[in-house]
């Protein structure tokens, strides 16, 4: 998925406008594409999404910590589907803190699961005003159609 987007952008099969999204964004590394991919396949998708974001946005930042040491959104491992809601909230406090500390108004994630969970946790623990978007959603929004 990252590779495909990188391919489209770098070969100019799609063209992007960096000025459309004005909000300050922050990027979330999903466990599966980053840390676990690195451990299992020897390559973590850390660089690619950041490169893609640079093509789409003017202002974005990283969470602290990030990449291999990033915190899980709290919905992984099927936990989102379990009834352990309070526990998930406890777990996600770290993610929410990270998001708040970044002072971003928009969280960009490249994972359905993380997207859903971060949205739910922001709604539950606030601030609900922060938007959550898929990485490809950001790409789609920046698309320049001739």
């Amino acid at each position: 998925m990252f590779d495909l987007l990188v391919e489209y952008i770098s070969t100019q099969r799609i063209r992007l406008d960096r000025d459309r999204i004005k909000k300050k964004a922050v990027y979330h590394d999903p466990c599966n594409y980053g840390r676990k991919s690195e451990a299992l396949f020897g390559h973590g998708y850390f660089h690619e999404p950041r490169w893609i974001l640079n093509q789409c946005l003017e202002h974005w930042t990283d969470m602290q910590p990030n990449r291999a040491r990033q915190y899980c959104c709290g919905g992984g491992g099927g936990l989102m589907l379990t009834p352990y809601e309070e526990q998930r909230k406890y777990y996600s406090r770290r993610k929410i803190e990270q998001i708040k500390n970044s002072r971003a108004e928009l969280v960009v994630v490249p994972c359905h699961s993380c997207h859903g969970h971060i949205r739910a946790m922001l709604d539950a623990q606030g601030p609900a005003s922060i938007e959550v978007k898929y990485l490809w959603e950001v790409v789609a929004e920046a698309l320049v159609m001739d």
Binding site: A39, G75, R94, A140, M145
Partner: protein, 232 residues
């Protein structure tokens, strides 16, 4: 149970290879520092590893410990002894038996095994939903000529979907379609068995995991797609 039995019982040679079995654990606490779940209901990766050392996997699976884990792998990433903690969780979830699998996951797996997707959505309904969204898309400027390629043969890419996009968040289907359209990609959506999410990964049930992979491979063979686009 003595150590040799633990070793033989816990064959932890996961897909990544390498790593060490539980008993080499140093008890250092890196995992517990890493894990955001540490501290709730006595949750602590060290506890999980200790139970693993002692071969008490079933007990682990039956307790909430195993199901509170998000499998994020942060513990394992930091472990100086390279203990495969998340692999152990999968093992425990499997050994805990079906009764311990949370209802939503259990239900989803059941549906998947029956219908090919975790929602149990009939193919006709699926077709109706995606076509509806595709039609909406053509109303947006620049995408007037968008045509949704379903079951197109010989496409470069086969697209599987996360069931939640089909279920409640149909709007989000459009983002990728827009990109693919703009890029002029040759792609296709399977008309049936489109599920891209594999919950066998969560439950630790290898047979479910395998069935998920088989579905996708089946689709790729059927439609002779060269590449695969996968939501997870």
């Amino acid at each position: 149970m003595n150590s040799t039995e633990v070793l033989s019982h816990t064959d932890l040679s996961g897909p990544g290879g390498g790593g060490n079995p539980a008993q080499i654990c140093l008890g250092c606490g890196t995992c517990a520092s890493a894990c955001p779940m540490t501290g709730i209901e006595g949750f602590d990766p060290r506890r999980i590893v200790r139970l693993g050392q002692l071969g008490r996997f079933e007990e682990l699976g039956e307790s909430s410990l195993a199901w509170l884990c998000t499998m994020c792998g942060r513990c394992q990433e930091g472990c100086p002894m390279d203990v495969r903690i998340t692999d152990m969780i999968r093992e425990a979830r499997d050994l805990g038996g079906e009764k311990t699998v949370p209802q939503a996951i259990g239900k989803g797996i059941e549906m998947f095994m029956e219908t090919g997707n975790n929602l149990g959505l009939p193919d006709e309904d699926f077709g109706f939903i995606v076509e509806d969204v595709a039609e909406e898309l053509t109303e947006e400027p620049g995408f007037e000529d968008f045509v949704l390629p379903v079951d197109k043969e010989d496409a470069r890419l086969l697209f599987t979907l996360h069931n939640k996009l089909v279920n409640t968040q149909n709007e989000d289907l459009k983002h990728w379609w827009k990109i693919l359209h703009a890029a002029g990609e040759s792609w296709t959506l399977p008309g049936s068995r489109w599920e891209g999410v594999n919950w066998g990964f969560f439950s630790g049930q290898d047979q479910v995991l395998k069935a998920g992979v088989d579905t996708i491979v089946g689709n790729m063979e059927r439609l002779r797609s060269r590449g695969l686009m996968y939501p997870e």
